[in-house]
């Protein structure tokens, strides 16, 4: 039942004679009789009151959708989605669509109106929406306006980073670094003393886990204990910062922010390709201490840098790999609403981007202006425009530049071939024309009249037979071959009849007309007849600098043959080349797309609304992908399938060569159904259009002219495809003379091409972003793509960059946006990053809500310190390592964690940082520490991930066929595959985040599953065994010494006397339980394994303090 607040007021019916009420409102005057008005008052108004006023009436607190329907004017003005009705036209009226439960909204939301009520409202609209002329009821209070500037001024995070000098402190001896002053002054203000300095064993263990995520080795601990120099700890910190493991630790923190995973999750958990290269990029970047501003730019727009950062030894483009982070999100295989699917993906991309780099929750503004922060819905869609103008690509990187260099050499060889071939053809002159005409006539005789007739003296019989063979070839049977009409005419012996000529001409004209109709009905999308690829986007080396052009050597055929012009060809130089050609964005207007293609192992893909998952599932997207395998022949291929269901959608095409094959396209058309064959024969039309044709000899001469013209134009590189085909036909059948020397030289060049291309390496592919067609996004009102609103030109957040940002003219505009993010005037980028570093070192950020600096986030505990560090960070060239060093070598970082009574009462939550917080290690670190201590750690870095080990509890669709090794091959956890739907249970139990969103601060929970894992998980038990075996292998140690070493290695300190005694007792207990003598027990592997296992379970194993 619908709950109705009844607000009907009594009304007086006009019962006088017909009254005409004139209403003007929708730009036209409607006149209503009193019968109309009576209908309204009796039937319509009560209905509106009963069904709609609860949400759209005069007393509604929060007007839904901004729509009021208590006056005609209000209804015509409408709400956020525009006018609610079009008087007189129910079919165009949103209100009528809504009550019929149409696509945009369904109203009333809980129950559809009974049919007769729908009929009343429909009739009412059809009548022009009669309504008595009264003063419009007062407008609802305008909503408290969203005032971006006000919000910006009111909240701390938007304010500029201030330069703060370290404050005064009483205890001037304590601070080691500027930051210590900021901490100390606050402690002194509440009369607290900072904790003592921690002991050295604790310090090195703390720093080691913090900086490289691994425990220190006993030798490192010893060295530190015995280093008397004042800078002993600084040395430790420096060594750790230089460790190759540093990057592995900090990459893992970063991976939490970019929801790193190697599968797409969702139903089938398909593989997300190349993710591990992004992970390796992170590890290298942190190890090399790439300045953070550079790092940010690479993430946002690394594909657009003019001088990308190169890999130091492999010399490939590193910067572009950063853009992979955009694409690490979840993805669905066969979305029913593909536009919505795209909107959800963009939401996630913007959410991750804005939280990660800015600590802002921009995605909250997708459906409405941000409820709290200075972010408008228009801001959200302005940022969406960057993504709409960009594409997911598999970019090619080229280690060592080998592909590029080989390509340069290949292109040079091909250039020489072009030159040679042009020179090789005889310059067309009268002799040539004459000869052509004579052979045409002679071959006509030979074919149709006297096959054995004697050959005229000056004609070469071999050449003549080549002519005959050429004319009998299948190609000339095609009506589009220039010589086809010649053959038709030549069958008629004797003088040419004018009507024969006319008939042929009419024939040719009607064929041309058919092609014109064909062009109209099947518009050409692309012909590739330009100098370059125009508005197509080129990726990789395969397609070269442009389509083939007249005057070029057909380097693919390797013979003595001109290339056909106007082909986008991925194999002109080498099959090993790979590349992708992407079209501009277009709107799907026809259900079929036709391609004239040739190739082997090529592909064509239609990417619609950025839905790239069609690679994995074509359900609902049948034929969006085409394989091109034509065995080299040219053919028309049709892409149809489901395309017709998506008319009006935005899409682009990809022509893909991802392997050792090739693909070539010379024409793309849009069609409503099958494409009729082309029939026009423009060259023949040119011949038959000549005046004064009266004999077959005239015709032969006209043809000879055509041949000579074609040859001449080809030599001048301005032949069209038909003319080139004619030249190719002549050359194929050796009807023109090519200098044999040139033939040899071309053969030599062909060998050179093969020699150069065969050792060329394959390019390496990485997941990346690339620019597409630049375009702005419409605001989706209430986040609903069915209700597009105003256009939001792409630009950065107004709160940073103001309202008058430069208009993006070319491409996506991402690069400018990236620069804007790291402009020191942006108050958030540096603050957010130093706060993250602080969070990881102290277990709590200065701003505890590390991913949200907005109004709903937490306020900084030490705002001046935050700004001080942010400034220092920028001044220090955005060096992460320098900042970490600054913090780690401070007195603050080196405090002990021991609680004191006073500290606990004055600062119970330790917000002032009067001591160090005890922290539980992350799941990855716990696992890595076990591997270190057992001796199993495999130090191999980088590369493909180790498949996840599957237990019987890990089930569901997409479960990999093969399980990885239980101990992950001993590799660090950062190298274990992150399979979205099959996350490692130990990691999940220890709060590793599900990769769906930015998680800068992990939960630290406490659950029995953690204890069960540490007690019973086969991996843990196995590592205890590996450790025990290693300990026992060294027979030289006494039992006590062995125990001593175990403690030092396992929990970072020697056992106390009591612990030693307890441990020895334990060995005895286990011996008795196993029925062994004490002596036997002391060398029994099972018992040592038990002891190792216990040590791994001691709380100091999984906590740092």
């Amino acid at each position: 039942m619908l709950r109705v607040r009844c607000t009907t007021k009594p009304f007086v019916l006009v019962t006088l004679a017909t009254v005409i009420v004139l209403v003007i409102g929708d730009g036209q005057a409607w006149s209503f009789t009193d019968a109309d008005l009576e209908f309204f008052e009796r039937q319509v108004r009560p209905l509106l009151v009963a069904r709609c006023y609860e949400c759209h009436g005069p007393e509604t607190d929060e007007l839904k959708g901004g729509l009021r329907i208590d006056s005609r004017a209000a209804i015509l003005t409408g709400g956020e989605t525009g006018p609610a009705i079009v008087p007189g036209d129910p079919n165009s009226s949103l209100l009528i669509d809504a009550i019929n439960y149409g696509n945009v909204v369904q109203m009333p939301p809980k129950s559809k109106l009974p049919d007769h009520e729908i009929a009343i409202l429909t009739k009412w609209v059809k009548m022009g929406a009669p309504w008595p002329q009264t003063a419009a009821p007062g407008q609802a209070d305008p909503k408290r306006a969203f005032n971006l500037q006000e919000r910006r001024e009111e909240h701390w995070c938007w304010q500029p980073v201030r330069a703060n000098d370290p404050p005064e402190v009483r205890n001037a001896d304590w601070p080691k670094r500027p930051l210590d002053f900021f901490i100390l002054t606050r402690l002194e203000a509440v009369d607290l003393e900072p904790a003592e300095t921690a002991d050295r064993r604790t310090l090195i263990r703390r720093a080691s886990f913090d900086l490289i995520g691994l425990p220190p080795s006993p030798e490192e601990v010893e060295a530190f204990l015995h280093d008397d120099s004042p800078e002993a700890f600084e040395k430790v910190v420096d060594q750790l910062l230089e460790s190759e493991h540093f990057g592995e630790r900090w990459a893992r923190h970063w991976m939490d922010l970019v929801r790193y995973a190697e599968t797409y999750g969702h139903e089938h958990d398909f593989e997300l390709p190349y993710a591990s290269q992004y992970r390796d990029y992170l590890i290298r970047a942190f190890n090399q201490d790439v300045p953070y501003n550079q790092f940010v730019i690479e993430h946002i727009a690394g594909d657009l840098l003019e001088n990308p950062r190169r890999h130091p030894t492999e010399d490939y483009n590193e910067s572009i790999i950063g853009t992979g982070f955009w694409w690490l999100g979840e993805a669905a295989g066969s979305p029913v609403d593909v536009v919505d699917d795209e909107a959800v993906r963009v939401d996630n991309q913007l959410d991750v981007m804005s939280k990660t780099f800015l600590g802002l929750t921009v995605a909250c503004a997708r459906c409405h202006n941000h409820k709290f922060d200075a972010i408008s819905t228009k801001d959200y869609y302005a940022l969406s425009g960057y993504l709409k103008s960009s594409r997911r690509v598999e970019a090619f990187i080229d280690p060592g530049g080998e592909v590029r260099q080989a390509t340069d050499r290949l292109q040079a060889i091909r250039g020489r071939g072009d030159e040679l071939l042009r020179q090789s053809l005889p310059p067309p002159n009268d002799d040539l024309k004459q000869m052509m005409a004579r052979y045409l006539l002679a071959s006509q005789d030979a074919m149709f009249t006297t096959p054995t007739a004697e050959v005229k003296d000056d004609l070469d019989p071999d050449r003549l037979s080549r002519w005959v063979a050429a004319l009998k070839e299948e190609a000339t049977e095609q009506a589009t071959h220039p010589l086809h009409p010649w053959l038709a005419m030549a069958r008629h012996r004797g003088p040419l009849q004018p009507q024969q000529l006319d008939q042929q001409r009419r024939h040719l004209v009607s064929r041309a007309a058919k092609d014109a109709t064909r062009d109209e009905q099947t518009p050409v999308f692309e012909k590739f007849d330009g100098e370059d690829f125009g508005d197509w986007f080129v990726n990789g080396e395969a397609f070269g600098k442009g389509p083939t052009r007249a005057g070029q050597w057909d380097s693919r055929q390797r013979g003595t043959m001109p290339a056909r012009p106007g082909i986008a060809h991925s194999g002109m130089l080498a099959d090993r080349h790979q590349g992708v050609l992407r079209s501009r964005d277009f709107t799907i207007t026809h259900p079929h797309i036709m391609y004239r293609v040739a190739g082997t192992g090529g592909q064509i893909r239609l990417i619609m609304d950025s839905h790239f998952m069609v690679v994995h599932s074509d359900l609902l997207f049948v034929e969006f992908q085409l394989k091109v395998d034509t065995e080299g022949a040219w053919t028309w291929r049709q892409q149809a399938g489901d395309i017709g269901r998506y008319l009006g959608h935005r899409a682009h095409l990809e022509i893909i060569d991802h392997g050792d094959g090739w693909v070539a396209v010379d024409e793309i058309r849009l069609a409503g159904s099958d494409l009729p064959a082309a029939e026009d024969n423009p060259l023949a039309r040119r011949v038959f259009d000549k005046p004064d044709l009266s004999s077959i000899n005239d015709l032969a001469e006209a043809y000879a002219d055509l041949i000579a013209e074609s040859l001449a134009r080809w030599r001048n590189s301005n032949a069209d495809a038909r003319e080139t085909d004619l030249v190719r036909w002549l050359m194929k059948h050796e009807l023109v003379d090519v200098d044999p020397d040139v033939r040899d030289q071309l053969a030599d060049l062909a060998t050179q091409l093969s020699d150069e291309s065969s050792p060329m390496p394959h390019p390496v592919r990485v997941l990346a972003m690339a620019d597409g067609t630049g375009q702005n996004q419409h605001v989706y009102i209430r986040g609903n793509h069915h209700t597009p609103g105003e256009v939001a030109p792409r630009q950065s957040l107004v709160a940073f960059a103001g309202d008058n940002q430069p208009v993006v003219k070319n491409g996506s505009g991402r690069l400018a946006f990236a620069h804007q993010l790291v402009n020191p005037s942006n108050p958030l980028t540096a603050r957010v990053m130093v706060n993250r570093l602080w969070h990881h070192l102290f277990g709590r950020g200065i701003v505890a809500s590390v991913d949200n600096f907005g109004v709903l986030g937490q306020r900084p505990t030490h705002p001046e310190l935050l700004d001080h560090l942010a400034n220092q960070f920028v001044r220090g060239n955005w060096s992460v390592k320098r900042m970490l060093r600054e913090i780690c070598t401070s007195s603050t970082y080196q405090m002990s964690s021991l609680p004191t009574e006073k500290g606990s009462s004055v600062d119970p939550q330790n917000l002032l940082l009067h001591r160090i917080r005890i922290r539980r290690l992350q799941g990855e670190v716990i696992r890595d520490a076990m591997l270190v201590i057992s001796g199993r750690l495999n130090q191999t870095q980088f590369g493909k991930s180790v498949p996840v080990h599957l237990t019987e509890f890990m089930r569901g669709r997409g479960r990999p066929e093969n399980s990885g090794p239980m101990d992950g091959d001993g590799r660090r956890s950062v190298y274990i595959q992150v399979q979205r739907n099959f996350m490692v249970p130990m990691m999940l139990a220890f709060d590793a985040p599900q990769p769906f969103n930015s998680i800068g601060r992990r939960n630290v929970s406490n659950v029995p599953a953690q204890a069960l894992i540490m007690m019973n998980d086969p991996f843990v038990v196995e590592q205890a065994g590996v450790w025990a075996k290693r300990l026992l292998a060294d027979k030289s140690r006494s039992t006590e010494k062995r125990i001593y070493n175990m403690y030092v290695a396992g929990i970072g300190r020697p056992p106390s006397d009591a612990e030693m005694a307890d441990t020895l007792d334990f060995l005895g207990q286990q011996s008795r339980a196993l029925g062994l003598s004490e002596d036997e027990g002391r060398s029994d592997e099972r018992i040592w394994k038990d002891l190792c296992h216990v040590l791994m379970n001691v709380k100091s194993f999984i906590f740092v303090y």
Binding site: E267, V336, T951, A989, S1005, F1103, Y1105
Partner: protein
């Protein structure tokens, strides 16, 4: 004394085990644990709280203390189960008369009448099809909602939406929210358990994830196998060997406390071992059905010949045992019956029949058993899929996904029995009356548990997140009559 088991005497051996453990390695921790369990906290528990399962204050007096969610993975057809449509039968084989929305497989056939007959049951006369003869006997305890809607046509989005209130991966499951909001009445079993029948729904285990809620509230998957829970069996050859280890561990941990201070985090991590140790005993005890009578196991269909009945029967019986032990949210998922769950894109007749035969008798038995033991009053039982199926055919003999109108039922725990709520159109395609959204289902479920869905929140990246997001209305029409003036704060602690 810890009364984890709900009022039911436990076998002696288990008590022995417990007391031995209580006097063993962790008596200090156990004492603390018991003290803790009396504490209530209405606010969200802070991450790392020592005993996160402690029961918590509800917003108002709950009518249900726990939920059994019978999840019919794949989407059972409403028009073949609880929503008979004479017009569909009349027009069977003819072109479908209504406008058809985009579907998952886009393979539209003709109007398809149900192959099954409906009959009326109980005093209420609610019609149920031949697929559910056992369930049908309980209609007077059930509210059948015929106007469910979902926002998604694909399983994965639909599953995430049903389980987490959001169609994308990455939000906490409803069981996690309930565990988070209510805590547990049991200190030796997890608060949120999935009794897995062998199939994992599309979307995978993330349907049961805690997401941004602490891992404490993660759903624990109990598999239908010898070892139902990961790492529940001790790794040592004997209990003595394990206890020796745990004793040494306790000593070493105590010396850690001496050195580092009695920090809450460390103490709770130590206490965790206590709980883990007891779970090693409690879980096998839970799964061991030796103490059930033969008539009980027969009632649940443990001896049934039909495919899958014994498996689902065992799940239902264990669900009842969990209810007795105080587990807060128990979700049952389907097993294999040789077809693809309830997802009959083809061969509706065979597939729905086999799926129904696997679950009908066990569910009927569960309702009977709960009622007999007085447990149905405060146990909310919900039966649903993630969406329904199209009234027109997919191909010739299947049905495609239909989120626009489908049926579910709820029973016990404050639900008004014997009523039908909402309606679809004449073909059973779209909801036309009293539309109920998934958010409304969640709101109602929380309401019955004494929780105001708008107030149960968790701050995550700048938002107070809710199971119902910014939506959801309690469906008051299906609640058993009780004066609302009775509403007052109340703890769930018995």
């Amino acid at each position: 004394m810890s009364h984890c088991g709900r009022f039911r005497p436990q076998p002696l051996s288990r008590r022995e085990m417990l007391s031995r453990c209580a006097n063993g390695f962790g008596s200090v921790a156990l004492t603390a644990l018991l003290a803790e369990s009396k504490m209530g906290a209405s606010a969200a528990p802070a991450t790392g709280t020592r005993y996160p399962f402690a029961p918590r204050k509800t917003h108002f007096q709950p009518r249900a203390k726990r939920v059994i969610y019978l999840y019919m993975d794949g989407g059972p057809s409403q028009v073949d189960t609880f929503d008979p449509k004479p017009r569909l039968q009349q027009e069977s084989g003819k072109p479908f008369a209504m406008q058809i929305e985009p579907t998952q497989f886009n393979n539209i056939g003709t109007t398809m009448g149900s192959p099954w007959k409906f009959a009326q049951y109980g005093k209420s006369g609610i019609p149920v099809s031949e697929l559910f003869p056992h369930v049908a006997r309980h209609v007077d305890d059930m509210a059948v909602i015929r106007s469910m809607t979902s926002n998604f046509s694909s399983h994965t989005n639909g599953n995430y939406f049903l389980h987490t209130g959001n169609g994308q991966q990455g939000r906490p499951s409803m069981g996690s929210w309930i565990a988070y909001g209510l805590g547990s009445e049991c200190q030796e079993l997890p608060a949120f358990v999935i009794l897995n029948g062998g199939l994992i729904p599309p979307g995978g285990l993330d349907c049961f994830n805690n997401s941004f809620l602490p891992a404490t509230y993660q759903g624990s998957i109990f598999r239908p196998s010898e070892t139902p829970v990961a790492n529940i069996s001790r790794s040592e050859a004997s209990d003595e060997l394990q206890r020796n280890k745990l004793q040494l561990l306790q000593k070493l941990d105590n010396s850690v406390l001496d050195r580092v201070g009695r920090v809450d985090q460390l103490e709770s991590a130590i206490a965790n071992y206590e709980l883990a140790y007891r779970m090693q005993v409690a879980v096998p005890d839970l799964m061991n059905l030796d103490d059930e009578t033969e008539s009980t196991t027969r009632m649940y269909g443990l001896d049934a010949k039909t495919k899958g009945t014994a498996t689902f029967g065992r799940q239902c019986l264990i669900a009842r045992r969990m209810v007795e032990r105080g587990v807060r949210f128990i979700e049952l998922t389907c097993g294999k019956v040789g077809h693809d769950r309830w997802d009959q894109h083809t061969k509706l007749k065979e597939g729905h029949w086999d799926n129904a035969m696997a679950v009908d008798q066990p569910i009927g038995a569960l309702l009977t058993d709960l009622k007999q033991r007085g447990l149905l009053d405060d146990t909310l039982v919900i039966w649903s899929g993630e969406f329904g199926r199209t009234p027109f055919a997919q191909g010739s003999n299947g049905r495609d996904h239909n989120p626009f109108g489908f049926s579910l039922w709820m029973a016990g725990g404050g639900i008004q029995g014997g009523i039908i709520h909402g309606a679809t159109d004449e073909y059973g395609y779209k909801t036309v009356q009293n539309r109920v959204e998934i958010h409304d289902l969640h709101a109602t479920m929380l309401h019955l548990l004494g929780v105001d869905h708008t107030k149960q929140t968790f701050r995550f990246s700048g938002r107070d997140m809710r199971l119902t997001d910014v939506h959801g209305h309690v469906i008051h029409d299906i609640l058993a009559t009780r004066s609302l003036s009775n509403v007052r704060p109340h703890t769930t602690d018995p």
